[in-house]
Subunit: 122 residues, 2 copies
């Protein structure tokens, strides 16, 4: 396994749908999250705001099953290629990148977040 | 335009090939780099190691022409959809994500870096 370069214990992770190739989200992982992702086959991250490890979809059921993990040239960024169950974004859109910089919504909303989450997304 | 949330003046940018949908690289931009990207139609970033703004391809000619800029739900990450000239990676691979976490090379090398760069890539 390639030795990864973490900054303050974290590495950014781009998550891409393995079939549609949509970029779904960007999050951060620590070494424990990377280890769990490899061992379980499901995407794990580290939340900087909540200061805890989390499994994507642990509350919503919208898990990300790993097809492949790629590393960039500098070994300081990861790309998870996944099968996304449901939607990646807690707002209900399939991808977190559902808007242009000008604010136009171009993504598809696939669920109603108020019916999936009690309070706030995962 | 959506108001972006920068951390220490920077926002991570995922660059994706607009046609092939390959994730090409991840870099950082400051507000000046985002402004220049919008105004010129070519991807600009901020180098944390060199502490300077740079235009992708300024040395190699491997520029990234912008098709669209998307923003994530938290407004703290950008996605540039681009037409990539040549290759994104200074190692000569089309994408910086040319290896699996296990170290297997899966990408295509499209140029010889020693013939493109004097010393080190851009």
């Amino acid at each position: 396994m390639i030795a990864l370069h973490y900054t303050d214990g974290l590495i950014p992770v781009v998550v891409q749908d393995a079939d549609s190739k949509e970029v779904l989200m960007v999050a951060y992982a620590n070494d424990e999250a990377v280890r769990l992702t490899r061992e379980t086959g499901f995407a794990h991250f580290y939340s900087r705001s909540r200061k805890k490890l989390w499994k994507k979809g642990e509350e919503s059921g919208h898990v990300q099953e790993i097809r492949e993990i790629l590393v960039d040239c500098d070994e300081d960024c990861l790309l998870y290629l996944v099968d996304q169950k449901g939607a990646a974004c807690h707002t209900g859109y399939r991808t977190c990148f559902y808007r242009t910089l000008e604010g136009e919504i171009i993504g598809d909303r696939v669920f109603d977040p108020s019916r999936v989450y009690g309070a706030k997304g995962s």
